[in-house]
Symmetry: C2
């Protein structure tokens, strides 16, 4: 049977189960939207809903994302989902797959199932009965001597991993402003001129050491991946030192 | 020259530059310690130091980590570091390498340089002069329409990536409690018995479809990677349905 490439996937929903502090609900909403998640569901928030502290801590996220849906039971909140992940710091004695956040994010963004990720109350986390309703567990590897993550921080880490699983940002970039990167010839001209002018100033006192010193100097500037503008700037610095304003 | 494998690296220090809210300083300290970072330096905290709101939000982190060092200027705070990373949402018109958090974490945990990671004030982030003191930039890829991350959340993401770069946790695990995973023979015995008992109940009405139905049933249970205990439990379920308590 041919391999089918799934081209679409649903972004996961975040479900907060019995959250206590509005501050955390708001911070969780902000964290979700920072990474493009917009479906927040809340089961039985302790302080009711809407909640002023949540709005104050969301930094405007609730103005952008759909209104969170409120449910009385977890089972009601879970009805439309294909796959449910329970985020918990300590996998209990339950035989379920335990994913790292990044492994779960890879799975969630690879298949077209609509997934939900559950986060429990601040003090207690998810109960065993709540975890039992999930297909899988997500556990964040953490300092074993200081393992209690803030609720909104857990939501943030998971949202970040979901974003990263879709993101194409280069791991390392060098933005060069308006200037192009210098080609070898430009850099080499600059370095040859530097060497000539240093020779004129009797910088290279030892003939034996001169080749090594030149290699070291070249390495300083070559490692830099300089732009054309930076090469011109450094040519100006050489001119300034030798008292020649016209180069 | 032979390649030298560096076996040690320093965990990076976190430097908060002109932070405003004690809440964020405390949450940042908690987030650091969650992922094993303990050296926090603070430049010119707006509300002074020590700070009650910071302590309240640190969830005890300040009792475990060394006392944060307070500095009047960024340059003072940076004195001992080999490599400085500036965390900023928007790389300005500066020609520096821009790392994703994970790429920076890989570099930091690969070489023995002592690194610091700078985070700016809540409203304004790092100034251009502050960024200029850094060797490199870290930029968190983020929803471009809602890009403002909370300060402590930024510290958390970076701390998490540092932890992940060192962490050996399996991406996916199935803890099996006290029971070992079932071997093929145990699962196969269970499935053969299920098929026999279903045959006895005339479950397979169509002879043509029977092989397909059996394959489908086998897939339900094979995909599960069941434990020995779970196989025994299901054997008990079959026995219960056929009214045989002794199998």
């Amino acid at each position: 049977m041919p391999h089918t490439i799934k081209k679409t996937y649903h972004l996961p929903s975040i479900i907060l189960v019995n959250p206590q502090l509005g501050e955390n609900i708001g911070a969780a909403a902000r964290a979700m939207l920072n990474f493009g998640l917009t479906d927040l569901r809340i089961v039985n928030p302790r302080d009711g809903w809407p909640n002023d502290a949540a709005i104050a801590n969301a930094a405007g996220a609730f103005d952008v994302m759909p209104t969170p849906q409120i449910f009385e039971t977890l089972s009601d909140a879970l009805k439309p989902f294909h796959t449910v992940y329970a985020s918990t710091a300590r996998p209990r004695d339950m035989v379920k797959k335990v994913f790292t956040p990044s492994a779960a994010a890879t799975k969630i963004t690879s298949i077209s199932n609509h997934s939900a990720i559950l986060f429990g109350a601040e003090r207690t986390g998810l109960t065993n009965d709540e975890i039992t309703q999930a297909h899988h567990i997500i556990s964040i590897p953490v300092n074993p001597d200081f393992w209690s993550l803030n609720l909104s921080q857990s939501v943030l880490l998971m949202s970040h991993e979901i974003y990263k699983a879709q993101d194409k940002t280069a791991a390392i970039e060098i933005p060069q402003g308006d200037s192009a990167p210098a080609v070898h010839e430009e850099l080499n001209n600059m370095l040859c001129r530097l060497e000539d002018e240093l020779e004129n100033k009797n910088f290279f006192r030892s003939k034996e050491l001169k080749p090594t010193m030149i290699r070291n100097i070249r390495n300083i500037f070559t490692r830099n991946e300089m732009t054309e503008q930076e090469v011109r700037t450094f040519q100006g610095i050489i001119s300034a030192f030798i008292g020649n304003k016209t180069k």
